[in-house]
């Protein structure tokens, strides 16, 4: 099959091909989604190396055992795979230590900002990361899925395996806590 055709294929088609052993389809799927799943894992583990390892592990498990993806049971690949990545993050957390603040520098939102503004923003970001890290696990996941990944509330609820109301409640509680703890910065 011509290489130019791969980006045109949707996730479902690629997964069917992966189940037939297609390395090209797997490569396309990995290129398409690595960044977004890395971001989610990074929010969880706060370490670039660990997040990369988790995403790699998740994709390799999919390759090794493509039968785990069952289109009739899982409607959307990304929703299902978010859950896979989250589960791997939780496993990692259970085995390892509590999440620490990132040792890498958080990139500034806009590098053209004046230095003082940029410093304040950096401070705010650091504080926010710290407070989000201190939130209960489910509240943190709900925030990450809705604000970072831009998932709709319904999709985020599906990833977390809760109903829509429960998700909205998690987000609301997380926001109330953050507002309380970030008073000085808001």
């Amino acid at each position: 099959m011509a290489a130019a055709n791969w980006p045109d294929k949707d996730d479902h088609e690629l997964l069917t091909l992966i189940q037939d052993g297609s390395h090209h389809a797997f490569a396309e799927l990995v290129k398409r989604h690595t960044e977004r799943f890395y971001r989610l894992a990074y929010r969880y583990v706060q370490s670039k190396e660990t997040a990369e390892d988790i995403v790699q592990d998740a994709f390799l498990k999919l390759w090794e055992n493509p039968g785990t993806w069952q289109p009739e049971r899982n409607n959307k690949f990304t929703t299902w795979f978010y859950r896979v990545v989250v589960n791997l993050c939780l496993d990692w957390q259970k085995k390892k230590r509590p999440v620490e603040l990132p040792n890498e520098d958080i990139p500034l939102a806009d590098e053209r900002e004046p230095v003082d503004v940029a410093m304040i923003r950096l401070q705010e970001q650091r504080m926010l990361e710290k407070e989000i890290g201190a939130l209960p696990e489910r509240q943190r996941l709900a925030l990450n899925l809705c604000f970072d990944e831009g998932l709709s509330n319904q999709e985020a609820a599906e990833v977390m395996g809760v109903n829509l109301k429960a998700l909205q409640s998690l987000i609301m509680r997380a926001k109330i806590t953050l507002k309380e703890r970030m008073k000085a910065y808001l």
């Binding site: 490569a27 960044e35 890395y38 990074y42 670039k48 995403v55 039968g67 926010l128 604000f147 910065y185």
Partner: protein
């Protein structure tokens, strides 16, 4: 809590940045997968489909087999209708056979 605080918090949440992944992460995953064989767990239906594919017959064979099965089914289902209740009574048959042999 004021709306202004809400807005600021939303803005902060939406402007969060993560350390980007290594540019070669995707390539690394793809490369690693090259050396890993796939495990193929086959369900019962997959196994049945494979079996059918293996013993694939030309269409006329299916038609013949279907006709044979249909014939057998029809044959068995109508077998009871051919014999009348009279046939099953041996006394009636005897009566019929000896009907003309009365005393002369």
């Amino acid at each position: 809590m004021s709306d202004k605080q809400d807005e600021k918090l939303e803005m902060l949440l939406r402007s969060r940045r993560a350390t980007p992944a290594s540019p070669e992460l995707a390539a690394r995953i793809i490369l690693k997968a090259q050396g890993i064989p796939q495990v193929r767990a086959t369900s019962f239906w997959q196994w049945l489909r494979q079996l059918c594919a293996e013993y694939h017959l030309p269409k006329p064979a299916y038609v013949l087999a279907s006709a044979l099965i249909l014939g057998l089914v029809i044959g068995f289902s109508t077998a009871g209708d051919i014999t009348s209740p009279a046939d099953t009574n041996p006394i009636n048959i005897q009566g019929f056979l000896y009907a003309d042999e009365g005393p002369l």
